[in-house]
Structure formats: C-alpha cells, structure tokens
C-alpha cells in the first residue's frame, strides 16, 4: 500500500505540489491523472523517495520510501528510461537484482517472464524505444516488489507494446500488488485503473473509480469528466 499524506513540495518560490493526500491499495491499479505541470511526477518522486516532501509524509507499507526497507518493497519506473547504453539487457537485470540482494536466478526469471530472452545479449543503446521501455519495466519488477510506481509507462510505445504494458499492469494487480501509475491518456486510465486520482495545480481535485467520476460530473466519458473536474482544457496532452 502506498499513501500520500498532505504532501507539499516547492522548488524555490514555485509550488509544485500543495497538499496531496490519497491511498493506493493492494490489488488495485491507481491512476494519477492530470494535465502537464499538475504535479504528477513530483508527487510520484516523493512517493518513491527521490524527493523529500517539504511537509506531509509518504509511506510504502508503512515505511518511509527513502529507507532501505521502503525501497526494497518498491519497484520504480521513472519518466526517463535510465538505461546504460553499453550494458546488455541481461546485465541490466542482473545488476538490479544484485543491488536488491538477489542473484542470477531472479534476473533470468525476469528476462523470461517479460519476453526479453531474445534481446538478452543486446546492448541497451541499440534497442528501440519500445524495447528500452520494456527493459526498464522488467528491471523495476526484477525483485517482485509488493508496490509498483510507474511514471507514464506507455509513453512513446506503439499499440501492441502499449497493450502488453496495460496487460502487465492488470496482472500485477490481480496478483495482489499495489500499482500506482501516472498517465494523461484517458482511454488507458479508463480501461486499466480501478481508481483514479485527478491532480490539478498541485492538488487533488477528484478521486474515485472512473465510473464514479463520470457519474459525479454527468459526463459520457472520462475525458469529459476530467475537463469538467480540472475546470479547463489547458495543459491536456
């Protein structure tokens, strides 16, 4: 379970997140939705321990995410792929596994379960964007964490790859994991999420299941509900 409790974060005199609270539960897919600049990435970064909140607290299974215990329970896919160009796919997964205190067996299992066996000996610098995203995702899940934070996991992927990632997200939730991901693709959020948290101007403006949000706003689809809730179409990607 991942929870944000009154998170506040500013950079200089610019406020990025102004009091965000929500809970992403186990066995559910929680989507963080918002226009560009709403504070999605900053919120996720506080939740996986890259940023320290100015106020409030982030918790991962009741642990602070910037502790060794918190990090061990969390799998993270940041907005940038963050791969090493000269390392092969296998070396990436093995490196990550060993940093989690695991071994070659876990790395090989991740290679197989994410369909990366054929790419195992390829250097990551030579992979396509979609393949790189797949490797990043496999790396984030190599230690089979209970909680997963994914920042725009389908960004830049083609249709088959996007469908694969969505299927993976659903399967993680079915296995009882807590999945929190950010997106600005309405169809993706509507079809994948059990629960949606809508951010605008660094604050939570609505929270609920997609159907609930549509019912509350009287909109026919999630996109209409979203525009109604944030009060403008500005910043929609």
């Amino acid at each position: 379970m991942i929870s944000a409790q009154g998170l506040v974060k500013g950079f200089g005199d610019r406020s990025a997140v102004a009091g965000v609270s929500f809970t992403a539960r186990d066995g559910r897919v929680t989507g963080l939705l918002g226009p560009n600049g709403a504070g999605k990435t900053t919120t996720l970064r506080m939740l996986y321990g890259a940023y320290r909140p100015d106020r409030g607290q982030a918790r991962v299974d009741d642990r602070a995410p910037d502790t060794v215990g918190g990090r061990a329970r969390l799998g993270v896919l940041p907005d940038k792929a963050g791969l090493y160009r000269r390392l092969t796919v296998r070396e990436h997964l093995l490196y990550s596994a060993r940093l989690y205190g695991l071994g070659r067996g876990e790395a090989e299992r991740a290679l197989a379960s994410h369909g990366l066996a054929e790419l195992a000996e390829r250097a990551c610098g030579a992979l396509s964007h979609g393949e790189q995203r797949k490797v990043s995702l496999a790396r984030a899940l190599v230690h089979e964490p209970q909680n997963v934070v994914l920042d725009e996991p389908t960004s830049g992927l083609d249709v088959p790859a996007t469908r694969q990632v969505r299927a993976l997200i659903r399967s993680l939730a079915r296995a009882g994991r807590c999945v929190l991901f950010s997106s600005h693709v309405m169809q993706e959020v509507a079809s994948t999420c059990d629960r949606v948290v809508i951010l605008a101007h660094g604050q939570v403006v609505a929270e609920g299941a997609p159907a609930e949000l549509m019912a509350t706003t009287g909109a026919d689809d999630l996109e209409e509900a979203f525009v109604t809730l944030i009060g403008s179409e500005e910043g929609l990607g």
Binding site: A50, Y51, G69, P78, G82, L83, R86, Y95, L99, R139
Partner: protein, 397 residues
Amino acid sequence: MSANLLHGAAVVFEKELRDGLRDRRALLSAFAFALFGPLVAGMALGALARRVDDQHRVAVSVDGGERAAELLAHLSGSDRFVVKAWTRDQPTLVTAVREGKLDLALVVESEPAGRRAAHSPARLTVLWNGARRSSKRDAEQLLAELRRWQRQRTAAGLLVAGTSPRLLRPLDVQRRDLSTPSQRGALALATVPIFLLMAAFVGGMNVAIDVTAGERERGCLDVLLSHPAPRLALAGGKWLAAATVNLGVVTATLATAVVVIRGPQLAVLGLRFGHDLSAMAAALLILAPLALLAPAVQMAIALFCRSFKEAQTYLSLLVMLPALPGFAFAFRDLPVAGWMRLVPVLGHQVVLADVMAGVVVVPGTLLGLTATTFATTAGCVAVVGVLLSNEALVARP
C-alpha cells in the same frame, strides 16, 4: 550493515568497471593524453643527445685539400671534425650539398699565379644548405673553427714580426652558452614527473564523470538511487571503478616514460633517470595513492554538474591545477619546505622529483604523504556518498 555496504560497493564496482572499459573512445583518449607527455620528453631528450653527439663528429668533405695541408691537418687533428677528401669534381660536390646528400663541404680554391706573392689570403668556400638544420649547425661549427685557426695563425705571425698580437686584437671576447645541452636535458626530464602527475588526473576522469554527471544526465542515477543499497556503497563502488582505470593509465604512462627515455641518451647529457624495476615500483608506490584520490575529487565536483559536458569543462581545467606546483619547481627553482611533502599533489610532485633525481626518500615522508592522501580520498568518497543523498543535486532535472 558493513556486509551490505561491501556487497553493494562490489556490485557497483563490477558494473561500472565493465561499463567504463567498454567505452573505447574515452579510454583511447585517456591513454593518448597520458602517454603524450613522456613521448614528447623522450623525443626532446633524444634530439638533444643526438646534437651533443654530433658536436664531436662534424663530417667535412674537402675539395682541393692539398692546397691547404696545414689547415687540413689541424682539422683532422681535432676530435670534433672528420675530414674526407673529395675525389670527384666540384659541381658534383655543390649538387651533393644542395640536395642534402652531404651536410657540409669545404672547397680550397686554386690560386691564380702571382697572388701568393702578393700575400693575398687563401680563398676557402664553405658550402652548406641553410634549409637543413644539421647542415647549418655543422657549418657554424666549421666557420668558428676556421676563425679560431686564423686568429692563432695571425698571432703567431705577429709574434715572429716582433709585434704584440694585442695591437690587432685588444679584446678577447669569449662566448659561453650557459644553457648547456645537459641543463636543457634536465629541464625536459623534469617535465616527466609533471606529466605523470597529470596522468593521475586524466586517466580516470571520463569514468569519474560518466558515473556521476553522465548518469544524472541520462536518468540512470535516479533509477540507481531507488535501489536499497547504501549511498556510501554506491559512492565507493563508483570511485573504485574510476580509480582502477586511473591506476591503469598511470602505470602505462610510467612504463612509457621508462621505455622512451633511454639511458644512453641521458648518459650523453650527463643525466640519470631511474630505469630499473625498483625505481619504477617506487614511482608507482608514490603515484598510486594520488591515482586513487583524483577520481574521488573529480566525482565530488562532477555531481554538481547537470551534464557530462559541463563536468568535462570544469574537470579539464582542474587537470592543469596539480601541474602548477610542478611547473613552479621545474622552472622557477622554488625552495621546498618540509610541510609541502605531506600535502597531496604538492608532496607527490616533490617526492617524485626526488626519486627521479636519485635522492633517497625518507620512508617516514612517504608514509606521511600516503596517509594524508588516503585520508583525503576517504573524505571525498564520503562526501560523494552524502551528495548522492542530496535531491537538489541528483534528482532534479
């Protein structure tokens, strides 16, 4: 905790070393830069040694030598000239000098009848090719010798005539070039420790930047920091990888210096340089702690930079910094105070110069310098560990 620290550091070290060794372009540039210094010093010493050697053996091809037998006997008697009689015609001799087949020739012109009687001077022509350095240098030596011989002959003639040679030559101006080849050689040799010192700051620089500013720029650091390994383990592993590459480059630079700066050249110049394995081991013993310190300092600085290029700009300037005291000692002959031998970089310059000059280094000095260097290195690695926890430096885009 310490087992976790060691395990994390070992994992990061293995990965960073593998990654660094695969960056062929960066390695090539580090080795090329580091080898450049000793190669240049070796070439300079070789050229100086050849010049000193040549001073003793200026070859002169003489046409018409039988017309100036006394002069020729004088030149042949000197150990600085090798006189060869030219047996072919004069135009062939001129062509040979012009085309560079010969550096120097002397033509003793035949005298028209009656001129001897009129006490006209004997007419000699020195042939050389000014476009060639060796030819010009040989000609200057021959002309100087001819002037000297002429002065001696004039003085002897005046004495026979009962006149003091002073009347003709009231001043005896001697030219003394205080910049001897030996000194110029010593200067070239003194640059070797400076280049070795610079190698310690160049060898692992690219790896030190890549594992910090480079990873930050590519977003890899963000992912790495999401792992549960202690920050100090990450800093330690990265530092050890950069230091290993650095140590390799320093060793290669030292080996190049030993190979290119050859003993016989130095013997000609009256210089000495430790060539045996024990001297090389001593130099490596002095340089190794410095090769460990440099990447730690570079990583701490690079973490303040947002991109590889930005870090490269600052750290390229830093490469010059350790060389400054070295140049000051080499060219300004500054006095060395005792405390200087304990200050990292400064002390390494002084102690290394001592070793190369054949001065016995007190073990206590070496131990003291190594201890201060290790302490500074440990401090810098700890700082890198702390900086890796600083979100303003590593997490913000």
